[in-house]
Structures are given as C-alpha cells and as structure tokens.
Symmetry: C2
Subunit: 212 residues, 2 copies
Amino acid sequence: MTKRDISMAVIRRLPKYHRYLSEMMERGVDRISSKELSEIIGFSASQIRQDFNNFGEFGQQGYGYNVNDLYREINSIIGLDRTYSVIIIGAGNMGGALANYGFQALGFEILSIFDNDPKKIGKQLCGVDIRDVNILETYMSQNKIDIAVITTPVTVAQDIADRLIISGITSIWNFTPRDLVAPEDLIVENVHLVDSLMTVAYLLNESNGSVS
Amino acid sequence: MTKRDISMAVIRRLPKYHRYLSEMMERGVDRISSKELSEIIGFSASQIRQDFNNFGEFGQQGYGYNVNDLYREINSIIGLDRTYSVIIIGAGNMGGALANYGFQALGFEILSIFDNDPKKIGKQLCGVDIRDVNILETYMSQNKIDIAVITTPVTVAQDIADRLIISGITSIWNFTPRDLVAPEDLIVENVHLVDSLMTVAYLLNESNGSVS
DNA sequence: TAGATTGTTAATCGATTAACAATC
DNA sequence: TAGATTGTTAATCGATTAACAATC
C-alpha cells in the first residue's frame, strides 16, 4: 500500500499506459515487450520499465509483459478497480458535457448536479437530478462524495470550493480558470482550458516565427 | 522573433503569468517584485526571473517589474496581440460548451462548427453556424483557419484529423481520448479529460493508502 | 548614497536514458 | 542451451534553485 514517492511525472503517464494496454487487449494482443510498447506509445523502453518497476515486477525476462496482467495491474494502481461518487456543481454547458461524457463506464458515478438556476433545479441532465446548490452542505453530509467537479462561473468558484472543503471534500476537479485556494492535503486537479488554448497560440506563432 | 529553445516547462507557465498579471492590473497594482509574485503565484522568485529572462529584460534592479508593461510583454509573447480563426468539429455537448466558453474575448474567433447530424446542420450554436462536415475541405480551402478543435466521438477523431491535415491545418486542439497520428510539425494540444480524472483517482487512493 | 532587486552564472536536484548483469 | 528481455544501477541530461555581482 506504499504508493509514496512516485513522482507526478510517472503518475501522469499511467492513464496513457492504461489507454494503450486497453486498446491492445481489444486487438487481442497478449504479449508485449517494453521495446514494442515504446514504439507505439512514444516513451522510451527504458522509461517504461522504470515506470512499471516503481510498482512491482510485472514482466518476465526474455518474454516481456503479459498484456492482460499488465493492464489489470495498471488498472488497479490507478484505482480503477473501485467506483467513485462524483457530484458536479454547475449545470451549464460544461457541466452538461461532463455529465454526458461517459465517465460512468470507468467507475465514476455522477450522483447529483447542483445549480442555482430555478429553471434548472428539479430537472435532469443525462438522467441525473439537478438540485439547488443551497442544499449542497446538507447533501454532502448525507452522501459520501469522492470527487466534486466545479463548472460554475469563475466568480463563484472559490466560494463553492470553500463550501465543499468545509463539507469535507477530499478532491476537486476544477474547470474554472482560477487556481483555488485550498489546504495542502486537498487534491485539486485543474483543467485550465484557457491555458491549454494559449499554449496552442504560442506554439503557432513560434512555428511561424523566422528561424534562429 | 527567435522564440526557439524555450522549453515546454516554461511555455506552459506563461498562461499562468498572464492570468495573475491580468488580475493584478484589475486590482490596480502597478509594481511587483519577483519575490512578491512568487508568493501569490507559487513559483520560486528565481524561476520567475529565469522564465522572464528567456524573452528579454523586463524588470529594473531595485524596483521590480511594472505590472502593465510585464503583462503586455507576456500577452505578446503568448501571441494574444492578434486574433485566431477557429473551427470546431463536433456540435455535441463538448463542442457546445467550448463555443459558449468565451474564448472570443481572448481573440479566438469561432468561425464555424461542423457536424454530420442533419438535425443540427443549418442551426446555430452560440451564434455560430453549424455546417455539414462533408464540406469541411471546401470550407477550409476558402477560409484561413488557425486552429481546429476536435470534439467528435473518438471513433472518427483520426479520420477528421487526417482530413484537416490534408486541408492544411497547422494546429489541432484535441478533446477526444486518443492520441492522433500526425506529422511532426503539426501542433497537437490534447485535453485528455479521462487522463485527468484518472489522476484524481490515483491521488485519492494514494492519500487513503497506509503510510510508508 | 544605501537598499532593494534584477539578470545571470553556478550548484543542485530530479528525471530520463544508457548499459548490463540476471534470468526466463 | 542460446536468444531475448527484464529489473536495476550508473551516466546523462535538463530543469530548478541558490548565489551574487551589476545597477537602478
């Protein structure tokens, strides 16, 4: 159970391993070497072996890795052998898009969506009830929630985060373009779309810019 | 115009500088030292000075940085002193969310949305026409497009990417959970939401796991 | 001027890559 | 067995941090 000391660089590569292994399983591949995996996934064979060996010895000398076994290991390492209860705060376009994304298939169950718009409260989004954000604290005290997704306007994001924190949330998936102020031990994963798009803009100009 | 040799680590910090400087300008702050900026943005003062000096000497010894000047520099370095023409392929929930996000205010003009659903073609999303994806190539040949956003089902993502590439696109903002096969010089920025959510799952279990 | 803070070089730290003995 | 490939240590590379002379 000692997952400590794994660097974020490694952790952020795990979903990509998961994705490619899942694909290989579907294609019926049952054996792969770090060298072969390297060629399709784009990490070096050395890095792949280093990454896996952070968590155990999953391979076999002279053979490589069994795709099914390796997939199951990675799946379990990420924590996808259990389910997670999720709520979304903000029933706008982004909240709706996420509710419909299909994360349920991976074990992320969306229990409720919250909003402050009377026209939305009481309705459903992707089969999930939209509740009044006023009862957020009550709801949290009655349901164990693993992950709260914030898709509200940026102006209220910190306020919502504060209320979630007081209600005992342990992880927030933040889609608003602001870094939330939060205690050290809170897990905050930001999806800063503006930052991502700005990176595209930078790279576009870089590639247009005159050489050296 | 020599933007070469700037590492991605630096590039990905630029939007955050932009964001915090914009905020400071709004608050009327007109002067800031790397040490003060460090405290609010969370990068070390040393790193901040290193980052800026990749692009020029924007500060003044004994004084610090002028917030307005620095903001304008960063804004221009990212390339936000011009506009970008954007199309979205996929008029689903995510496409709609992005069309409504407000990127226009930053200079990203959404010219058209494409879909293959007859019920959507001809309608609008956030004031933008939805066109038949069949005319994608024709449209691209008649309009200079800087950025194509892919929000289609994952199954057709590579096919759409191929068509965009043939039509001369130089950058793709990819929201599907697959890594696109593309030429070296194409800019592909992935927003892998599943990967991001899996990271949350991992960190959740890590923090629950028994200690050392 | 004296104090403050930059710009920049040098030192450190961490992550990636290379190499190879172990072994299937 | 011989060939292949892992697990793991050592070497390299790159990014971050520390230090300080330059200078406003």
